[in-house]
């Protein structure tokens, strides 16, 4: 399941979907990304998530397909939110079920690493004084994260 949405999501609902009575499931890994305070002391109020609507779901599906080809997983779900978010809000969810924990962990990390490199979302930090809104820069770690999969 892949979804790009403005609405919030609920981990419990997602988890119930993952625990779909497959007796070969031994491991479930979930990742949730939250809006955090990137620049302390700048009166950060939250983030605006811009995206490229025609491309986002397509891009996440491609990442999901590659992940499922590479790792032995039973289910893989991805949700990414767009629009205005406040500090502490949920941004992204990745949920994986698999017979083995190694595959579940690796699959969730693989999805996040590629999402951070390829999925067309852009974060703008919103501040109390509107004119100071600042686009978040890519960080070097995210650029290098893909190396481990190559």
């Amino acid at each position: 399941m892949i979804s790009v949405q403005e609405a919030d999501f609920n981990l419990n609902t997602q988890y119930q979907m993952l625990r779909a009575k497959d007796n070969t499931d031994g491991a479930i890994v979930t990742f949730i990304g939250l809006v955090r305070d990137f620049n302390q002391g700048h009166d950060v109020t939250g983030l605006f998530l811009e995206h490229y609507p025609a491309m986002t779901a397509k891009s996440l599906e491609k990442i999901s397909d590659r992940a499922k080809e590479r790792f032995k997983v039973n289910q893989l779900d991805i949700i990414h939110r767009v629009g205005q978010l406040a500090l502490g809000d949920q941004i992204v969810y990745v949920g994986v079920s698999s017979p083995h924990r190694e595959e579940a962990f690796a699959c969730a990390q693989f999805v996040m690493d590629y999402l951070k490199k390829e999925a067309p979302f852009w974060k703008k930090e919103t501040r109390k004084k509107q004119q100071q809104d600042v686009w978040i820069e890519t960080n070097q770690k995210d650029k290098e994260a893909l190396k481990k999969w190559q």
Binding site: G33, L49, E50, H51, Y52, A54, M55, K58, S59, H80, I91, V92, M112, L115, K116, K117, E118, A119, P120, F121, W122, K123, K124, W135, I136, E137, T138, K143
Partner: protein, 82 residues
């Protein structure tokens, strides 16, 4: 005719979210960058740079990828979702 979209910081810097090039027949991403660079100082500065990634029909592409009439091209900064 091709449609060209801009996103994120790039959209703001160029003050343009979308434009159409009616007389575009065929060419590479690199060629389209050169053509867009003629639109002015900001265009020359921001479109030519490595920091504008490119997609054709919603797929990330390389500089040598061919654009055909009818395609949707997009330029945008490195992504920062997740």
């Amino acid at each position: 005719m091709i449609k060209v979209l801009f996103f994120g910081r790039l959209r703001e810097l160029l003050d343009c979210s979308q434009l159409e090039i009616t007389d575009f027949e065929q060419g590479t991403i690199a060629q389209l960058r050169l053509e867009l660079a003629n639109k002015g100082t900001k265009w020359a500065e921001f479109i030519a740079g490595n920091n504008a990634l490119a997609a054709i029909n919603q797929e990330m592409v390389e500089e040598t990828s061919m654009i055909n009439s009818g395609d949707e091209v997009a330029f945008f900064p490195p992504v920062t979702g997740g």
